[in-house]
């Protein structure tokens, strides 16, 4: 079934602000989980022998672990900008920015950052920020523009 396998970082770009500043955090990210779906609304009717549901609002959950670097264009600066802006957009694909059936791109908009782990300092350990984004909408794109 699988014709291609790779072990590599996802390509992750985070856009912040009305005139977006784009942060490419691919090289800082060791884990990225994107979960998309819908709220399901009850549509069970008389005569049904089981529950039925229809799609409601979209749901998005993104978890990622980033190396917490400091400075212009770095992760902590981006987190502060997201907090100031109130939301952000994330574009994620498994490998590179060229969309295809084997490299689906997910465009996640109007996400909110749950917490900003501004300082994660442990002596002798890499500073890793575990981030969670929720809310917003999602689009799956496999067509290269």
């Amino acid at each position: 079934m699988a014709t291609t396998t790779f072990l590599g970082n996802a390509t992750i770009n985070i856009s912040v602000g009305a005139t977006p500043t784009v942060y490419d955090v691919s090289d800082q990210c060791t884990k990225c989980e994107v979960m998309v779906g819908y709220d399901y609304l009850e549509s069970t009717a008389f005569g049904d022998t089981g529950h039925r549901a229809v799609q409601g609002l979209q749901t998005v959950a993104v978890n990622m672990d980033l190396f917490l670097s400091y400075g212009a264009g770095e992760v902590e600066t981006m987190l502060a900008a997201i907090q100031t802006a109130g939301s952000c957009s994330i574009t994620v694909s498994p490998s590179g920015t060229t969309e295809s059936a084997s490299n689906p791109e997910f465009v996640l908009s109007n996400l909110t950052l749950e917490n900003n782990p501004a300082i994660m300092s442990t002596v002798g350990e890499l500073a890793v920020a575990s981030l969670s984004f929720t809310n917003g909408t999602w689009v799956r794109d496999i067509t290269n523009p």
Binding site: D27, T30, F67, V123, L126
Partner: protein, 118 residues
Amino acid sequence: MAATGFLAESQAALASRLAALGIVTVTDSRNARPMTVLIEPPSFTSFTYNVAKVTFTLRVLAAPPGNKDAVDYLYTTCDTIIDTPTIDVLEGRPSLTNIGGQEIPSYDLTVAVATQRR
């Protein structure tokens, strides 16, 4: 050809911080000698292709024999290194280092450096 890349850069950064303490550092084991600190090639754990935790062993070399004078020097030099906010010393242990058939009293310090390529 001089080494390039994050391992060489992190070693150079560590050597620079030790030099700022007035410590003579050596990265070529052929030049290891008493009253210097030998920085051995590191081990590392990759976080991504851009970020890694690099772990060095510093070998603090005293003058033989391993008497109290040598131990005093090792204690003092180790303390100077440990008491530096920009050098993360994780652990240390006494050791003997063989240089040219001569056993040198020494201390091994494990130092961690977080590094990103860009």
